[in-house]
Symmetry: C2
Subunit: 314 residues, 2 copies
Amino acid sequence: MSNQRDIIVREVGMRDGLQMVKDIFPTDAKLRWLQAEADAGIPEIEVCSFVPVHVVPQFQDHAEIVEAGLKIPGLTVSALVPNARGAARGFELGVDKLNFVLSASETHNLKNVRCTTEESLGRLKDIFALRNENPAYAGIDIAGGISTALGCTMEGKIDPTRVMWIAEEMLKLGVSEIMIADTVGYANPALVHDVFRQAADLFAKDVRISAHFHDTRGLGLANVVAALNAGITEFDASMGGLGGCPFAPAATGNIVMEDLVFMLEEMGLNTGVNLEKLISIREIINGGLPESEPLYGAIARAGLPKPKMPEMTG
Amino acid sequence: MSNQRDIIVREVGMRDGLQMVKDIFPTDAKLRWLQAEADAGIPEIEVCSFVPVHVVPQFQDHAEIVEAGLKIPGLTVSALVPNARGAARGFELGVDKLNFVLSASETHNLKNVRCTTEESLGRLKDIFALRNENPAYAGIDIAGGISTALGCTMEGKIDPTRVMWIAEEMLKLGVSEIMIADTVGYANPALVHDVFRQAADLFAKDVRISAHFHDTRGLGLANVVAALNAGITEFDASMGGLGGCPFAPAATGNIVMEDLVFMLEEMGLNTGVNLEKLISIREIINGGLPESEPLYGAIARAGLPKPKMPEMTG
């Protein structure tokens, strides 16, 4: 089935969502979530970030989760890393892919990882050096993520030229993928089309390009449509929209995986995902979350259309 | 300002929204809502439907509302009509525009107005005859609305060919506008692009074409993007997404006006609407609604981006 996917959707809620949750999400529920989402046909799951346990205690069980994920046939297990130290842990554990992320916004990067964007690029260089030191790590992909690429709560508008420059630098270092992220939900469909069109024209011949949208201001799926129109076929999302924004407490987080899959499948695009199985995973996640963390999602609320729409032709 | 609008957004919550509300919305609050939304720059408001008071008691104050609306300079006051009897009332009151609506789904039309789609077209013919009888009515526009045009809870998929046939028949009768509606929230961006592209190719040279989307399954704004890409520039929406769907009790209603305006303006498209003034109208509406009728909206929940994004160039 995976050979026939038109669109790759990647679960990031286990990382981008859970990192926001103060209560520890039980390892057992995480393991069931992982297995269930792989069973539903999700091809890639970002399972954690490799950061010190005292910074994000939520990922203290990362070794167990990674190990379990790697046993699931066909699943790509990825993890976020901000620096070489985190990457070293990822290499040791043998994840399939490391997602290195920096911010296009200098101010945001300084706040988030305490160094300039240029210094972050230096860290990415160190990560590649580390990978190249050990032939056992050769098969581990490194993706370059550019956060706040479509706007920043601190800097406002971000110049697309700067985003392209960062992508170019990442490409020179050897990333297999460029991920462009609207970290704080500032994007709009016109900007998305513009930035992703530029990125596709410049880089699509060399690397995969993926999109990471937040639904903070309700434009998440509209932005997906704009990115699709720009030729993008890989999207991050999270179950139930898990993952708020620390700068907008009442705002929803990542785009909702169930709604994304529903939209894509209704559009006649094959995601390889079984939507009913996917929706049923909300129960597992709800079971592991404190009551103060609601899950979002229009499809879960409204239900699938009935009678089922016949297959679209053409 | 209205001369420079790129996009026309039309408020339908006062009709499509309130018709779903069982408690009578106070006339006084309706009048304040009307004035405030016109002040915010909304160019057209559908204020009621002309149906017997015993069918929809909510519109018992229609004469007062229409009269007040017609006094507001520059505002287009429209109303929905299902038949010649309703249209006669509209002509008498001198509304600016009558929106005649039938369903593309034969089953839905039979349930809703107890006649076939063909018979509904006959009613539209009667409405034009009525208008032509009296020179005083010559300036009143008649728009042709096609509901369930993108899917039906009873029939499922609707053949776009049928939608084009209805539009063609309406055009022959003399409508100034074709409104294509996703009444039950079954549309997806691919279908929207397909149907509106066909409609634009066939009819845009002769009439205005507008889109009416519901956000039942979260795809409302994504569908707007698809319609924009097909060249559509007129959209219905309702304040706070007022207007549920009787077939999906937990579902939200029309696309949210505030979110639509936010998206369009962020895209660099001028709606002529002051977003902050618009958002403040939610208070008036909340004050007139029973507590069981929540307003929706991502912008009202998350707030506008801060710092304010600088104007987009190009």
